[in-house]
């Protein structure tokens, strides 16, 4: 019960935040954008966590999937007037197809090769978007029409805020459900022990590919929403830098945890915005944080938060539980 006492008011705050922001007049445009942008980044962080934290498959080019989704949505919108839902769905689908190019070789790659190949994927998407300017607008980018959703105009900052918030909640629920059913358990099994997973009937290779596809779909859909939110896409937005930011979100949040990924996204986004005026500062802080987290807080933010919650959950590997032997 006490958990409801926290959850319900906070969910209400999230829902009424735009109304409160009315008080600051025009300035809400910026703050609504910042929070909406954070919602979308958090979806990408969740998707990367599904792949990296849950399935143990590293991806250093995740913004490549975001780029594929964003460009798909932008092109469909600019040329055919496809709406936000269609754009996000098509973006996710195309990113999922693109992920097969990575996912299939990935099943044959040893851990660190995968990191390098995904890095290359991120770079390649960038270069192709730049080169294929007839379709993508090259470095001048692509402007989208005012976003609509199922025939409704959602082009105001407040409505886009709700679109992003609902998208994050939906993504959270989807991933949460997935991890609590057969396929999600198979992801974790593959990460923990490929041999044991296979012995339990989990097809290791295709499970890895499916994890790639799921993760890419989410990242691509987030990219599609992002394109509508920003109203503009350009190749420079999806470089290694942004892949590393998503990576930092997952690591700092604590791998293998959805709340962790969201928390990591908050921290990274806040640092990125706060340190924007001093060049190199955010990179140095985030890099330093990653090193410290790995060395001293292997569970990341997730573990720190959990340590402080009143009721400890049993499944928590950040402490060494000693279980009484009852035999």
């Amino acid at each position: 019960m006490p958990r409801y006492a926290v959850t319900v008011p906070v969910v209400i705050i999230a829902a009424v935040l735009p109304l409160v922001l009315q008080l600051i007049g025009e300035r809400q445009v910026y703050w609504l954008f910042v929070v909406s942008e954070f919602f979308v980044f958090a979806i990408v962080a969740i998707s990367l966590d599904l792949l990296m934290g849950r399935t143990g498959q590293i991806s250093l080019g995740h913004s490549g999937f975001v780029a594929v989704g964003a460009y798909t949505a932008a092109i469909l919108n600019a040329r055919f007037g496809v709406d936000l839902l269609g754009g996000a769905f098509a973006g996710g689908s195309l990113a999922a197809i693109a992920s097969l190019f990575l996912g299939v070789p990935a099943t044959r790659l040893r851990g660190h090769y995968l990191g390098i190949v995904t890095l290359g994927f991120g770079i390649a998407v960038d270069q192709i978007a730049l080169k294929w300017d007839a379709l993508t607008g090259g470095d001048q980018g692509l402007h989208l029409h005012r976003p609509t959703l199922l025939g409704l105009d959602v082009g105001t900052p407040v409505l886009m805020y709700y679109v992003a918030l609902i998208a994050l909640i939906v993504a959270t629920l989807l991933v949460w459900s997935l991890t609590r059913t057969r396929l999600g358990r198979a992801f974790a099994a593959v990460k923990d022990s490929e041999i044991a997973a296979a012995a339990m009937g989990v097809p290791v290779a295709s499970t890895k590919v499916v994890a790639f596809v799921c993760s890419a779909f989410l990242a691509g859909a987030a990219g599609g929403i992002y394109a509508f939110l920003a109203g503009f896409v350009a190749p420079e937005d999806f470089g290694i830098d942004s892949s590393l930011l998503f990576f930092a979100m997952v690591v700092i949040g604590g791998m293998g945890s959805i709340p962790g990924a969201i928390g990591g996204a908050i921290i990274v986004d806040a640092i990125k915005n706060a340190a924007a005026t001093v060049s190199g500062l955010s990179l140095a802080i985030l890099g330093g944080m990653i090193v410290l987290v790995v060395l001293f807080f292997p569970g990341g933010l997730k573990a720190l938060l959990r340590r402080r919650t009143a009721k400890r959950r049993p499944l928590d590997r950040t402490r060494n539980a000693t279980v009484p032997l009852d035999a």
């Binding site: 296979a198 009937g201 499916v210 499944l315 590997r317 279980v323």
Partner: protein, 252 residues
């Protein structure tokens, strides 16, 4: 069946026949090919020749993840559990090939819920049987080793295999931890065929119907636990140094 690694013949033309139920043990010194045999049966190592039929299906022609559907499940020498998952979820992975939920799991469709519920009921029943119920939400990494081995066996058992392969289930257990696992295995032996690697003859004497002794990949003796113990060749190359029937590394 034969398993080769390069020039080394780890399992050499071994013939083994087990009926539908009962406990059968494999013994032999280190390097005799026991674990290799189990790995070959569960298709972890893919370079075996010959054939292994379980109810007519040749296991050696399957992919590793198809073996369990053919009715062959296994445990591991060093309890290869999934620490990311809870104890309960570890058992549910054991039911992976019986369930069908794929991506639609993300949508929690009614059929997903039904499957999940049914699987949970089975897993919970097994956990209660094994007295692991209290620990269901812990990570296996936080359990004492004895519980881990028990869980490892349970995870193989939950799929109700026809052939259960156990790789040294008692290795590393304390005296206090042994009886629970022993009871569990004895129970399994009444439902299916259990092929286990074990050195403790005393443990085997109570439960195993037949013991096969291997050395250098070959079968050198076969029979009841007490009978095999008296076999001169077995004594010569294997049991000579053991104090209470436990094998030391003895080459012959």
């Amino acid at each position: 069946m034969t398993v080769r690694f390069g020039g080394l013949v780890a399992v050499d033309r071994l013939d083994l026949d087990v009926p539908d139920t009962g406990i059968f043990a494999l013994v032999g010194p280190n390097g005799a090919g026991k674990t290799t045999l189990i790995n070959a049966l569960s298709r972890v190592c893919s370079i075996a020749s010959g054939s292994v039929r379980v109810n007519g299906t040749d296991v050696l022609e399957l992919l590793p993840h198809q073996v369990v559907s053919a009715g062959v499940a296994r445990s591991f020498q060093r309890a290869e559990l999934f620490p990311t998952l809870t104890v309960l979820e570890n058992l549910l992975v054991g039911l992976h090939s019986e369930m069908t939920t794929g991506l639609e799991g993300a949508l929690m469709t009614p059929s997903t819920r039904r499957q999940e519920k049914a699987a949970r009921v089975r897993a919970e029943r097994l956990l209660r049987e094994l007295n692991l119920w209290e620990l269901r939400d812990f990570s296996p990494a936080d359990l004492p080793y004895g519980h881990q081995k028990l869980l490892d066996v349970a995870r193989a058992l939950i799929s109700e295999p026809k052939l259960l392969l156990l790789d040294e289930p008692f290795a590393g257990l304390t005296e206090a931890e042994t009886p629970r696992l022993l009871a569990c295995i004895a129970g399994a032996g009444r439902r299916c065929a259990v092929l286990m690697i074990e050195h403790h003859f005393e443990l085997l004497e109570g439960i195993a119907e037949r013991v096969t002794v291997m050395n250098f990949g070959r079968k050198i003796a076969e029979g009841s636990p007490s009978g095999v113990r008296r076999d001169p060749e077995v004594l010569r190359c294997y049991l000579g140094t053991g104090r209470h029937g436990q094998a030391e590394t003895a080459a012959c």
